[in-house]
Symmetry: C2
Subunit: 376 residues, 2 copies
Amino acid sequence: MNTPAGLSRPVFIILAEGEFDNETSKTAASAIRYLPDRVQCVIDSTQAGRTSQQVLGFGGDIPVVATLEEALEHGERSASGGISRAILIGIAPQGGALPAEARALLLRAIDVGLSVWGGLHTFLSDDPEFSAHANQAGVALVDLRRPPPDIPVATGRAAASSAFRVLTVGTDCNVGKMTVSLELRRLLRERGVAANFAGTGQTGILIDGHGIAVDAVVSDFVAGAAERLTLDAAEGADIVLVEGQGSLLHPGYSPVTLGLLHGAMPQAMILCWMPGRPSIYGGNYDWVTIPPLDQVVRMYEEAMSWVIPPFRSRVVGLAANTYDMPEEEARRALEAASELTGLPATDPIRFGAEPLADAVLAESAVVAAAAGGVHK
Amino acid sequence: MNTPAGLSRPVFIILAEGEFDNETSKTAASAIRYLPDRVQCVIDSTQAGRTSQQVLGFGGDIPVVATLEEALEHGERSASGGISRAILIGIAPQGGALPAEARALLLRAIDVGLSVWGGLHTFLSDDPEFSAHANQAGVALVDLRRPPPDIPVATGRAAASSAFRVLTVGTDCNVGKMTVSLELRRLLRERGVAANFAGTGQTGILIDGHGIAVDAVVSDFVAGAAERLTLDAAEGADIVLVEGQGSLLHPGYSPVTLGLLHGAMPQAMILCWMPGRPSIYGGNYDWVTIPPLDQVVRMYEEAMSWVIPPFRSRVVGLAANTYDMPEEEARRALEAASELTGLPATDPIRFGAEPLADAVLAESAVVAAAAGGVHK
């Protein structure tokens, strides 16, 4: 990981002021889903007094508190002696600069001995004020998004790996790509398959303990970062599940997505979407209508075909995030998507990822049977 | 530009050791083509004693010398008193690190009072040894590739600009995209059209005096950099000529290319290629065969269609770099390409860019006539 070697994972107080819900604070929600034992409480004064279960629908009794000081009190009651505590930044400020209140809170936290973990583009450890306070207090500033220094330009080498490569792709940002990759790893391992996860974003890195935030890599090297991650995860694995980012139809983030496609060289893709979202997320992008899913499937297969003529990379399944829909409506959306594309469709959190695991295994058998068709 | 404000352009001694030819040192060849009065000599011991004309086929008497010391002597004879001199780094070392001999040469140059201009990913001014020597000698270290600090995420705003936007795209790196954009600017201005150039790489920035090297921008912001450059160049312009980079079918650089497409939002594209090159340039990529040009045309139009449904972005012309072919063969290659695609084709350096200027103006008239079809 991009953290000081040997740094063990602390117990987190998550700062999600004004943003603690299922859609806005992906870092907070994902940390609670995948590291529940490591989350002590969440700071969001607009939801204080509730539990994670009440806000997100999961996470049990993890409390939401209004202030750092309340959070620290909770800690004194619940944290066991030997485990260090840290603030995890679970807000994503527009433009990257932390609001003044958040800065002040983080400085107070550092001063009482908490480390700070963040995944912003602006690195905590490059900030003179944070650095000075952290040095004084003897605590760590962990920048999950800081890339390693020596990433090469991609050469397409991932295509020569013997591991079967699966990339999650999407109609948009924030539609469940990381979750699908993690759920597939769990299911495939339960079935005895040597499946590894390659984390490509700050939240995936936080959960898995290593990875590279590809969106923070200089663009000449973004595909190279995906290639290195994929090859590293392929060591000893039969299947590599590469966490996707962004979307080919997102005017801001499409380069990151293409870098993952051409760096990871997936043989199979899982397309993630939110049935309730008609256009790209965020006020700046409502003019970008999300086309019918069969068109999006062709878009991704086409983009892969540009660089790997010797094998065909296919979308093999669809994963929806339907948390904002009644169950009956969600089932209808899945059926409609499946009918349109001829692909299995599920909401992996609500209805299980089994159909996607089946599809990945079936496709990997097809590719293995056609052995020799893969280049090199 | 990314240089200290007010820094005037010096006379350059170009360091191109072992790489001075038409294909390897793009920076050297382009500086000589577009800034001939500013190039004093070229250092390449493997070609010493020849002239630029003899090596490149252009550049007249500009001499090639073997050592820095010879170059400095030339300077004393030819440079007029008031103009400062600088070394321009015209080599592109694999992996980015300068070879030991080049480092030693640059340090000697700094010590005798020359500035150093470079376009590497590794910034000169971040190097403690170069910085110490430059401070001591009172000279500048100019990093053409260092991006400005405050680039936003792209929102697609360039699509709302009233200027007609033309992007050069390619089958590969280093096939003439910058040259085509610059030649088109010259021709269109000769015809009385307010045409501006948007430089997106270190050589374009060197020649034009401003721009952003988009391949050095963090991948989340690469489309945003293209968007900002395009909008800046659109001020007071009827036509903006955006310098392209990389290729959608290059496994390493395709993200940079897609960032330019989705950031610049071109209504028209010019596809550049080298008829003599069957696969992507460089030993690592010979497995990536370049498909027939009509397929490459469709690829670029498809990638643009992902984000701008309200207007269709078209490839309107083809530009070849045929410097390595006999004239008759070059003409046949152009005719074949034109027949295959139905598009005008030329080598803008060898046969003139007029057919491309005609095509751009015709397409801009078509788009203007369909006014109201552009979003926003």
